[in-house]
Amino acid sequence: MPPDTAQEAGHAAISDVTGIEESTLLQKVLRSQPFWVTIALLAVSLAIGLYQPSFFTANNLGNITRNFAPFGIMALGMTCVIITGGIDLSVGSIMGFVAIVAGLFLTAEYPWWVAFSMGMLAGLACGAFNGFFVAYIGMSPFVVTLGMMSIARSLAVVTSGNQMLYKFGPDAPIVKAIGQARFPPKVADDFWPDWIPAFSSHFWTMVVMALIVGYVFKYKAWGRHLFAIGGNEQAARLTGVDVKFMKFQVYVFSAFCASVASLLILGYSGSAINALGQTYELRVIAATVIGGANLMGGSGTAYGAIVGAALLEVIRNALLMAGIDSNWQGAFVGMIIILAVFIGLQTSGQNVFAQLKNAILPRRDG
């Protein structure tokens, strides 16, 4: 399209001459997908809150934040993987395997920290397996993690003897306390006002991890290199970034996040089932993409991962409260995924509406 290129060339020249300054903070915010997802989150919350005042009760907010926290935690790991241009389909299965390993050690009456460590080790081993084959052998992340998704689920079923594990021995109360802890504690006659929800340990774990990941993305060389790999892997390698080791690390980190989420859920429910986390990988990827991570690599934020996970859960909760048949959830969630990425295209500078109009009603030449 010659007219377009001429226009672009003219535009570049003008900005060169006038020396337009770098985009301001406000412009950056307005152009970011997480910002618009946050707006959507607030809008949906407000709408459902007006329709069903019980949405804004401390109790419901406590529940919602606990429900999406495991997805938020896993979305943090998934964001790191997706920034490098990869994908991790095995997180749901790793959750199941981790829960069963920890559950088996608890059933055998080991102390809780031994059981949790062994569960964590099992999860990290799965991540290391993924990372090794993706980074050092150079296989496609989709294929390797698809394989691990099958392997970890199968291991969970086999090691559990296809039984639910719930007789957790002497440390059962500690395990439960970890999964069910709340802050503020909300006991009678305390100084916390009633409207503050008692946030779960899941939620606080997610907040702390998100802060750490956000900090690393912004202020550490590790984060910088992650984005460089997603932008141009070859360039990162040529400038001395250890691309293979970095890629290995992100798959281990993704598995770590899945293990943390798994152990929290294990503590909350007080039982371990081998089906834990089934199809969760898709919800985690959905949350990550809604939060603005690009499957082509090179972009994504910690905040986006959390807010994407939150939006999915709020929509689910809103539909339940509105009394809509739960089978409709999939349709809504699917639409949100497509809509969020559509808006993301729009905010990244492409005029999607013009393109859409052109595709549907092409302008006639001559």
Binding site: G19, E22, R224, G231, N232, A235, A236, L238, T239, G240
Partner: protein
């Protein structure tokens, strides 16, 4: 003592011999033009010197010491900087982030070290000014013109004080004024006793800045002549094979 000395460099990819027994010597303060048709082995030679892959046979010496490069970082540590043909830039990062990619300036101590963004932005701005480029350190590379991208890639080589700068087609896709800037930079590098290996298709550029011209044809060196002793016509003949060797 020469800065870089290649003896009998051979590179085979399976049955294909990309380079066969190439000798090359570069001295401090010297600019050498490496010419040849597509497929003559120029890029292969550059990639070996830059540490992208090792040679099949032959010896490479930097300042008289035999070196074995297995990674690009090895070559950089030996004092060799490269401007790649595709510039090797990450589009999703800013100019300053690209300049310092892989050797970020950090502040703080131990595991709490963080990126010193302001320092990197300031130093990139100085480098761009030195290169007389209007590149702004905070701009995304994605939105830059060919010349600005070039400036980012060249600014990278100025971070350290390299002994040898390899430039793979640095003037291929930029404007006339920017070509003059790049050629000026090469002259300044020579004056400060740096060596330059310039790979280019543009005969006038090579004749303007290079002291010596080496011609590769089908993986072998067919000529190595002082610029003053040859002519564009002769070099063209050597590249195409019309003149067998000189």
């Amino acid at each position: 003592m020469s800065l870089l000395e290649l003896t009998g460099i051979t590179k085979s990819f399976g049955a294909i011999h990309a380079l066969q027994g190439v000798d090359l010597e570069i001295n401090p303060g010297e600019a050498v033009g490496l010419m040849g048709d597509n497929g003559a082995g120029k890029s292969t030679l550059v990639k070996i010197i830059a540490g992208n892959y090792p040679q099949t046979a032959g010896v490479m010496k930097v300042e008289g010491k035999t070196v074995h490069f297995t990674r690009p970082v090895d070559s950089r540590r030996a004092g060799i900087e490269v401007v790649y043909q595709d510039l090797a830039l990450a589009d999703n990062l800013t100019a300053a982030e690209n300049v310092f990619l892989g050797r970020e300036v950090q502040k703080g101590w131990g595991p709490l070290r963080t990126l010193d963004k302001q320092e990197m932005i300031d130093r990139s701005a100085d480098l761009f000014e030195e290169l007389k480029s209007e590149t702004r350190p905070r701009d995304l590379v994605q939105k830059m013109s060919g010349g600005q991208r070039q400036a980012v890639a060249i600014a990278r080589t100025r971070l350290s004080d390299p002994k040898l700068v390899l430039m793979d087609e640095p003037t291929a896709a930029i404007s006339v004024r920017q070509v003059a800037e790049v050629l000026n930079l090469i002259k300044r590098l020579k004056e400060t006793n740096h060596a330059v290996l310039l790979i280019s298709h543009r005969m006038p550029d090579v004749f303007e800045v290079c002291d010596r011209i080496t011609v590769l044809r089908r993986g072998t060196k067919v000529a190595d002549k002082m610029t003053v002793e040859t002519s564009p016509e002769e070099i063209t003949g050597l590249i195409t094979g019309a003149i067998h060797a000189a």
